[in-house]
């Protein structure tokens, strides 16, 4: 346990030192405050839009940004240390592979989690001062919680990439492809399936397919709670047949735990 904490502490401080925490927090805060204020601009009104519209826009924003940031932060975690030789050295220490991996996960996950909390929390506070509505905190609480899970999930996926390749540049390439697949291509494929193939998938089947993508699970969590007015596309169809909020959160949590366990497994098999 102590070893995990030492590694986590080092990784967290690296995140602070590299200005990761500050930049991610700023990006989240600026974008979410911006969306909160100008989200209604499309309908011709300036000022705070309705709560559901705001959360819906924030979720659509987060679903692209968070995976990208998590992958960027963590893709070189292992392959980078392997290239510089410190990975081999660390493994000669009284430190097991799973301790090293979990330590890194806690440290880097802590950066993502804290940045998400601070960045989006800022716009929650702002909204509260504007509207004085205590509902904001429960809506934002769920949003921030699921956003953190999404970030952790892609951190674990980044470790999978980092442990599976032997060069940093390859890891970067794979990270980019992973992001593209999960954040963009998967939805397009679903939509094509829905529109292009008649009687191809039922609503039930569609929802089940969406469970294969943590980004979509995140979307479902945040949009299913809202009135469907702000939601359209493949999602709207899926929401009607959706699982309960708790089930969805459990699925997203599984998207954190399973890749992490797989990463530990790959790490243990890895030839050094």
């Amino acid at each position: 346990m102590k070893q995990i904490f030492i590694v986590a502490n080092k990784e967290f401080h690296d995140g602070l030192r590299n200005r990761w925490l500050v930049s991610i927090t700023l990006i989240f805060a600026l974008l979410s405050v911006g969306l909160t204020y100008f989200g209604a601009a499309a309908s011709g009104v300036l000022g705070v839009a309705s709560l559901s519209t705001t959360v819906a826009s924030l979720a659509s924003l987060a679903v692209f940004l968070i995976p990208l940031i998590a992958l960027l932060l963590s893709y070189d975690s292992f392959v980078g240390e392997q290239e510089s030789g410190t990975l081999l050295l660390l493994l000669t220490y009284p430190l097991s592979k799973s301790q090293l991996l979990l330590g890194k996960f806690i440290g880097q996950g802590g950066i993502i989690a804290l940045a998400t909390l601070l960045g989006f929390g800022a716009s929650a506070l702002l909204l509260y001062f504007q509207l004085g509505d205590a509902d904001i905190f429960s809506a934002f609480g769920l949003f921030i919680f699921s956003a953190i899970l999404l970030g952790l999930s892609f951190t674990a996926i980044a470790y999978l990439i980092s442990l599976s390749v032997s060069e940093k540049s390859k890891a970067a390439g794979f990270a980019l492809i992973t992001w593209f697949l999960f954040a963009l291509a998967f939805d397009l494929a679903l939509l094509a399936l829905l529109v292009g193939v008649e009687e191809g998938v039922s609503q039930q089947g569609l929802t089940q397919l969406m469970m294969l993508n943590p980004a979509d699970v995140f979307r479902l969590i945040n949009l299913s709670g809202l009135d469907a007015s702000g939601v359209n596309g493949a999602l709207a169809a899926a929401i009607n047949a959706s699982l309960s909020q708790t089930q969805l959160i459990a699925v997203l949590a599984a998207w954190v735990v399973l890749p992490l366990m797989l990463a530990i497994f790959i790490f243990k098999k890895k030839k050094l």
Partner: protein
């Protein structure tokens, strides 16, 4: 020597394509310094990794302090083992002190010990600077400080003197001698380096995963049967005329005698009895020559085998047991 620090029994490691290390048997006692020599790819690093327990042997047994180093029981022994990898570049964005503190903590020590170690390797003046500003020698010193954390009982050092200036090299060997005096065992891995001879107890020569020779330097010299070079001066033609001596004359240099070890004393006595001798220079084969000899011998025997159509490594392995 009752409880060997490290013992390898027929230990080997092969990967799908390559036998990185073929059946090595050796022991290393407490307070012993072993020099491990070989070219790149000879299997030095593989052997170190086996001893460190980072990889498991595909055959045979490896024991460190009486336990298999890749097992769970050996866990607590790891803080008593120090390792300096070849070509390690530490976290560039951290300061030297931060790097060393991180490693010290992982071994259960604190920042205080880290500062002391930095003092010991002489880079206290730069400990608040980022590692990316360090020169090669400073990085190597940092690496050594890392290996010395917690006064290890067993030290494995891969190319420890690369990039060190002569003074730092001397300091390094002093530290090795000191550790040895405290009962620590050291494995020094390097290409053959001048100056390493007086600090090692035994040498081990590896080539393409095979053990070519192992023993103390004088044993190896004997095995190699390399001649002693004797250079008398002031004798002019007397040596060539002496029937006892002219057989030893080197073909390339008429002033130099190449004498087998066991006839050295006889030749010296004879030389001393000659008039006109005003100086004499005796030089035993150095480590580098011994090393070259074993490599050459190995190469010749390989060539011999390949002439007979036995060039595939697998068959060679079988043939040599």
């Amino acid at each position: 020597m009752s409880n060997p620090m490290v013992s390898l029994v027929d230990a080997g490691k092969s990967y799908a394509q390559l036998d990185a290390l073929q059946t090595i048997t050796m022991t290393l006692g407490e307070g012993e310094v072993l020099g491990l020599f070989g070219h790149n790819g000879a299997g030095k690093t593989t052997m170190m990794k086996l001893i460190l327990g980072v990889i498991s042997p595909t055959q045979g047994q490896v024991e460190v302090m009486g336990m298999a180093p890749d097992s769970k029981e050996a866990w607590h022994c790891r803080s008593k083992v120090g390792y300096l990898p070849e070509n390690v570049s530490f976290y560039e964005q951290l300061t030297g002190l931060e790097v060393l503190t991180y490693f010290a903590k992982l071994k259960g020590f604190s920042k205080k010990e880290a500062i002391e170690l930095l003092e010991q390797v002489g880079i206290t003046y730069a400990m608040k600077r980022q590692v990316k500003t360090y020169s090669k020698g400073m990085r190597q010193r940092l690496g050594l400080a890392q290996a010395f954390i917690g006064e290890p009982k067993l030290l494995l050092l891969d190319e420890p003197t690369v990039g060190l200036d002569p003074i730092a090299t001397r300091d390094f060997y002093k530290t090795v001698d000191q550790l040895k005096a405290n009962g620590s065992s050291v494995i020094l891995c390097s290409h053959v380096l001048p100056g390493v001879e007086q600090h090692i107890d035994r040498a081990m020569i590896l080539s393409s995963g095979k053990l070519l020779a192992m023993g103390t330097l004088s044993e190896l010299r004997q095995q190699a049967a390399l001649p002693v070079t004797i250079k008398p001066s002031g004798l002019n033609g007397t040596v060539a005329a002496n029937t006892k001596l002219n057989g030893f004359l080197s073909s390339s240099c008429q002033q130099t005698l190449m004498v087998p070890e066991h006839e050295k004393l006889m030749v010296l006595k004879e030389l001393l009895s000659l008039d006109g001798l005003n100086d004499i220079h005796v030089e035993a084969a150095n480590l580098e020559q011994v090393y070259q000899h074993f490599l050459l011998e190995h190469k010749l025997s390989e060539d011999e085998l390949s002439k007979h159509g036995l060039s595939q490594p697998k068959q060679v392995k079988k043939g040599q047991g």
